[in-house]
């Protein structure tokens, strides 16, 4: 942060010296301009980044430092929080629908997404727990992203993405917003995971699946104004990536012939970015502090916004509530299984009906949690092999058994139905291991 502030000071001081002509822009290739993404129009705020070359082009960008400027309202939206950033679960369209409504109501000036979602800690997905890997429903995530963009545009807010960490499919979200910053220790990588979805023996079908997946994923980058060659190299190991500089423009190539080689190997390496690389290559607009307390302040400073006010009830409240909610729901489901088992075990003799009713109540609670949180349904299936249908089926069995007990004169069952104590949800028995 200190580095960037110093740079900004230099940038502001240099405006009058450097605003001469385009020909004066000779600069080392290793310091590309920030605003170099293809198709990305120059925005005043983007030009206010603390880079000498950026600021020299945009003297007007320092206008925000004027003390009389109206304070900007900032709405922060976490996408994953520390240790709880599983893509497709903690980052699920369910909560971002709420966020979209909240943004519409509160109409902030700036919306800052803070992405913190890493599948893994190691680089090559070795030794990490696959149950913690992100789950990618491309339709759901694309709709979520589109909806947020549409809402933000409607309220006239400025969207900014800060990547705290993005390893796996979450990298697509990081790259789907034109104004992107990374924190000092952030990573942007892991898109080789698409290979899980394209494994098939037939080479023609493999090519079909691979190109479809690359196309679907690259759509996120293109919508953010990034060159698809970047995504290609992040997804396909055999693809290379380098960048060349033509004036202020960065030309990305899917080969190693550029001035700056990001991925020069055709073997098992995919392109990945640290915050430093991303900034130097103009992929990110800058690097901000890792520190939660100063990150937003640092960002605003870099964008030349001196007066801002973070909204007290912003997306952080909703996201935390959601993450805590579904995770507690999952824990409750896991906890309730031994209780259910106990009730089923006790469902005999004079207390049979009472205990069956108790077991039924427990399952109804599990079902209501599943219905409330799709993430719980996904996780119960992933971790315990328990589906919503299995819970519903077991409930039907219990209801039928209770009904049978209520009719003392009822004849014994014939065919079809299962009746008997104990047992219950077969696949769910693994719940007891938690």
């Amino acid at each position: 942060m200190i580095r960037t502030k110093i740079l900004l000071t230099i940038a502001v001081a240099s405006i009058f010296l450097l605003d001469l002509s385009a020909s004066a822009q000779s600069k080392p290739a290793t310091t590309p301009p920030a605003n170099s993404k293809p198709g990305k129009p120059a925005t005043p705020s983007a030009k206010a980044t603390p880079k000498v070359v950026a600021s020299k082009e945009t003297p007007a960008a320092v206008a925000p430092v004027i003390a009389t400027e109206k304070s900007k309202t900032v709405y922060v939206v976490p996408m994953g929080i520390k240790g709880k950033g599983q893509f497709g679960l903690d980052i699920h369209p369910q909560v971002y629908e709420q966020i979209a409504k909240d943004i519409t109501e509160k109409r902030p000036d700036i919306v800052v997404f803070v992405l913190n979602s890493a599948d893994i800690d190691s680089v090559r997905y070795l030794g990490d727990d696959p149950r913690k890997f992100g789950i990618f429903d491309d339709d759901g995530i694309r709709k979520m992203s589109r909806n947020l963009k549409e809402v933000i545009e409607k309220v006239g807010a400025e969207p900014i993405m800060i990547v705290r960490d993005a390893v796996g499919y979450s990298a697509l979200l990081g790259l789907s917003w034109p104004n992107m910053y990374m924190t000092d220790s952030a990573r942007l990588m892991g898109l080789e995971r698409i290979q899980e979805r394209t494994k098939v023996a037939d080479p023609e079908v493999y090519a079909k699946f691979r190109e479809a997946m690359v196309g679907i994923c690259n759509g996120f980058l293109i919508s953010g104004g990034y060159d698809p060659a970047i995504g290609l190299a992040m997804m396909r190991e055999e693809k290379m990536l380098s960048a060349s500089f033509k004036g202020r423009e960065i030309i990305w190539s899917d080969n190693a012939k550029g001035t700056w080689v990001v991925d020069g190997s055709t073997e098992r390496i995919t392109a990945h970015f640290t915050s430093e690389m991303a900034e130097e290559l103009g992929l990110s607009d800058g690097t901000v502090s890792d520190d939660d307390l100063t990150m937003i302040e640092d960002l605003m400073y870099q964008r030349g916004i001196r007066s801002f006010e973070r909204m007290p009830q912003d997306g952080e409240v909703l996201v935390r509530e959601y993450i805590d909610g579904w995770r507690k729901g999952l824990a409750d489901c896991a906890k309730s299984y031994p209780q259910y088992q106990e009730a089923m075990g006790d469902a005999q003799g004079k207390d049979e009906k009472k205990n069956l009713t108790k077991a039924k109540g427990i399952l109804e609670k599990v079902l209501s949690i599943i219905k409330k949180y799709p993430a719980v349904a996904i996780k119960l299936n992933q971790e315990f092999g328990l589906s919503k249908l299995e819970v519903e089926t077991e409930l039907l069995r219990l209801q039928e058994r209770i009904r049978g007990l209520s009719k003392s004169t009822a004849p014994p069952p014939s065919g079809g139905g299962k009746k008997g104590g104990g047992g219950g949800m077969g696949p769910g028995s693994s719940l007891s291991s938690t």
Partner: protein, 372 residues
């Protein structure tokens, strides 16, 4: 062109299913009862689909109607010609020259449905202005889009990967490859696009590159020209960027309003958005979602409901639940067959089971009556 192998292939109904099987299905052929028109023009907006539902003669309208038909899911299940036909009928009531936008989001699906879609779209575009708006059009989804004369991409969109495969073995149907390449080339030509493009989406060995001078684009089935789209190991997929640059698409539109502007139908004095297409799609999607939710549970209920009482009560409950499954099949056979794995043969067995259970009930009831 060896049509025989392709036809034979189609007859055995091999599903050309891509990445993941999606869901969604089928069609009532009656227009929506509550469909109303909305923006671009909000005035005079209640005449749209509602009047179309009952109209016989064309309704006199000064404003052209703009229909958006969202087509989500597997081709043959969620994305079908039936909904296109429903919109066509409503559009016809306003006279020729209405605007029909197909918003496509599909990973592909049944090849057999592709033929029906091709015939339907060919007919529609002889009367109306037909536009594809691509969110995701893979395989059969792409094939559908190719038949539209105008095409716009959403910024995130992808279109391509039309290789025909056997959904069960996940292997290419190599015997059908050449026919399929021709068919996809024909689809390109039908949408006034260069037929050289299509085969590169079918077979990885077909290369594609192009030159661009001013607005004039020339495609080549090689990898030597200035702008390279697909080498000899890749299956062609267009992004919004490559589609627009190569002239494959007419432009990029993120939102409906953007699209209306691009199409030049945002003048509210001349055009009116008609929500009939959306209403038709919503109704269908709701139906197939209902099948997906309810049928697996009905299968369970068959063995459980009434089991505590046994005898006639159990059989009656089983008949009721079995009949509901049969009814679902009538409403959405493709969803039942391909998504829920309950095909025609299974349904026949269930029907026979109902007959047997009814007999059984009669016998039980007769047996329980006092003799005389």
């Amino acid at each position: 062109m060896n049509l025989f192998s392709l036809r034979a292939f189609k007859h055995i109904c091999i599903a050309c299913i891509l990445l993941s099987a999606q869901s969604q299905i089928f069609a009532q052929s009656s227009p929506p009862k509550s469909a109303k028109s909305t923006a671009p023009s909000k005035s005079d907006s209640k005449t749209g689909a509602k009047s179309a539902a009952t109209a016989v003669a064309p309704v006199q309208k000064t404003k052209k109607q703009v229909f958006v038909l969202p087509l989500d899911g597997m081709v043959g299940i969620g994305l079908r010609h039936d909904e296109m036909e429903q919109v066509e009928k409503i559009a016809d009531t306003f006279g020729p020259g209405q605007v029909i936008v197909l918003r496509i989001n599909s990973n592909g699906g049944l090849v057999t449905e592709g033929d029906l879609i091709a015939a339907t779209l060919t007919r529609i575009k002889n009367k109306h202005r037909l536009v594809a708006w691509i969110e995701k059009a893979i395989s059969g989804g792409a094939f559908t889009g190719l038949y539209c004369d105008e095409m716009y991409f959403m910024p995130e969109a992808a279109l391509g990967s039309i290789t025909m495969l056997n959904g069960a073995t996940r292997e290419e149907i190599t015997s059908a490859r050449e026919d399929w390449k021709s068919r996809v080339a024909e689809a390109c030509a039908a949408g006034d696009r260069d037929p050289k493009i299509g085969p590169a989406m079918v077979h990885s060995e077909v290369e594609l590159s192009y030159d661009k001078v001013g607005d004039k684009v020339t495609f080549y089935n090689d990898y030597k020209h200035e702008f390279k789209l697909s080498d000899n190991k890749e299956n062609l997929d267009f992004s919004a960027q490559s589609a627009e640059h190569s002239g494959f698409s007419d432009g990029t539109a993120a939102t409906e309003m953007d699209l209306y502007r691009e199409l030049g139908v945002n003048d509210t004095t001349k055009f009116e958005a008609n929500i009939a297409g959306k209403a038709i799609a919503e109704k269908w999607q709701k139906l197939i979602a209902g099948a997906k939710e309810e049928v697996p549970l009905l299968l369970q209920k068959r063995g459980i409901e009434g089991s505590s009482q046994g005898g006639v009560a159990f059989l009656q409950a089983r008949i009721r639940n079995t009949q509901k499954i049969v009814d679902w099949y009538k409403k959405c056979p493709a969803e039942m067959t391909y998504d829920l794995q309950i095909g025609e043969q299974a349904i026949e067995q269930l029907k026979e089971e109902i007959v047997q259970m009814r007999k059984q009930i009669k016998e039980m009831q007769a047996g329980s009556q006092p003799g005389g």
